[in-house]
Symmetry: C2
Subunit: 306 residues, 2 copies
């Protein structure tokens, strides 16, 4: 099960009625935060999520509207008595940027660990939870910028009949189900002895601040939920989208059409787009499942036959 | 005339229902901002004030809840097409802290000028408006911290009778009234020839993040409005107030009693004080005019006989 909450849907600057774009993702009691603009800690609290369990903070890039809220968020995590290390990941330069911002948050009761992305595509597990893989892919913005996808694997069904046939002692069943290999009395039991083929897992993708590109299509392919920037609703703003390296709603919808996610939410609306819904129908003509994100819009994704 | 707006009333961290403590003060079309925690630019917009005319930003100190919103505010001022220089003032270290935070706001279309405070008491004019004097005084917090007062002087009444008696040409009257000295045909006309004694002006004081101290009393003496921190309402939190170098409501009220401002608003409430009003009566027993600040609470101060 994965819970997602789109904390905000604004681009460029926070507004009284719209927080900056940021996504919180919860899996097994642990939270991953994507981007942290000014006010993100307030949006998180408003959504009812605590800052303490944030184990990972991922950055698409280091424009102010995606990272200015970090010092306050780190201070609030400290005030919430977090002591476990926090993994930060983002494009090259991460440690320098974060260290510079920490001039106002120099003392924290937890360690910061850095993962600087340098490749076109990089994949790494959620620390201590290898079943959730995070993949970062380079996109096309004015500065180096990455999109992210999250894939939660699901092992095969446990075959009790087979376990009985192999005379595997009952106390080992749940350990094998969790992926453990067990040695007992000269015999070795491995998970593949009792688990069927891997089943369909869950996938979430998040892409913002980019022109359309193949890497976003890859990230969103077959996702259960794809969250994508749509800076401008009005097609007349296409030249501006090209200049600022953002997308129109229709351009985002074309990515949806190519990648075929089950659900697609637009976000990162320009402050000039006060009513983004009015431009949605154009995008839905291209890819019907697309809809507008809203601050605090949440979804719980479950495995298919749970 | 001075307009003031208490943008927020929170201390320590921004909350969904309470912005961080910050004051905006407007005089003659120009805005002075005091402190700029995370979200201050949103609170400013919510109050209906524009970021463009902010000529001066004053900092009491550099804890995150008083400065984390600066990079976003500067970026928004740039987006609002500001090009005139901005004066920043605060305790020693200002330029270092601001430069460090500007890692995410490196390019601005206006110049930043710095005034680092080092003395126990320092006074300087609002740039290009010497009639408004800003005075900073050191207070008593865990780090170097200053309170501020603003005094708008008011010249004497123009004496038309006297101007006639001195045969001062009519076209010079308004220039003399504005404080200009005029030479004409070998004669010199000075403002004091036609202006009565200086009249009562306006005074606003702002003190936050401090134990009670004499410098705050001086800043607030005879003020038309005194805005003062009251981190804790409950008297039982006095030991905590001492430890964290803040004040209780009653301690703040004692400052009011000593300084006798016309009005006094409490602010910078601890996140634990969800209903500060419930502790107000204790403070009012000490100094009746004291009241609780509220996010967005505004006041226009006019000269007495306007």
């Amino acid at each position: 099960m994965i819970d997602v909450c789109l904390l905000g849907t604004g681009g460029m600057m926070p507004l009284p009625y719209r927080w900056l774009t940021s996504l919180a993702l919860r899996y097994n009691g642990r939270t991953i935060l994507l981007d942290c603009g000014e006010g993100t800690q307030i949006a998180l609290k408003k959504a009812g999520w605590s800052p303490n369990p944030i184990d990972v903070i991922l950055f698409t890039h280091y424009h102010g509207d995606h990272i200015a809220g970090l010092p306050g968020m780190l201070l609030s995590m400290g005030n919430a008595d977090r002591t476990e290390p926090v993994l930060l990941a983002g494009p090259r330069g991460l440690e320098k940027v974060v260290s510079s911002l920490r001039v106002i948050a120099p003392e924290l009761p937890f360690e910061l660990r850095y993962k600087e992305l340098t490749e076109n595509e990089e994949s790494f597990p959620l620390p201590d939870a290898p079943e959730l893989r995070i993949t970062a892919r380079k996109v096309n913005h004015r500065v180096t910028c990455y999109c992210y996808s999250f894939e939660l694997g699901r092992q095969g069904r446990f075959d009790a009949q087979r376990a009985k046939e192999l005379s595997i002692p009952l106390p080992f069943w749940s350990r094998l189900q969790k992926g453990e290999t067990i040695e007992d009395g000269g015999r070795v039991y491995t998970p593949d002895m009792v688990l069927g083929p891997a089943r369909e897992g869950l996938k979430v993708a998040y892409a913002t601040d980019s022109r359309p590109c193949g890497n976003i299509v890859k990230a969103a392919e077959g996702a259960d939920l794809f969250i994508c920037e749509g800076m401008y609703g009005d097609d007349e703003k296409l030249p501006k989208a090209r200049e600022k390296k953002h997308m129109t709603f229709r351009e985002a919808a074309e990515i949806g059409k190519a990648a075929q996610p089950a659900r697609m939410w637009l976000t990162h609306f320009s402050p000039s787009e006060t009513r983004p819904e009015q431009f949605l129908s154009g995008a839905q003509q291209i890819f019907p499942p697309v809809s507008c994100g809203k601050d605090g819009r949440s979804l719980t994704l479950n495995f298919k036959d749970e």
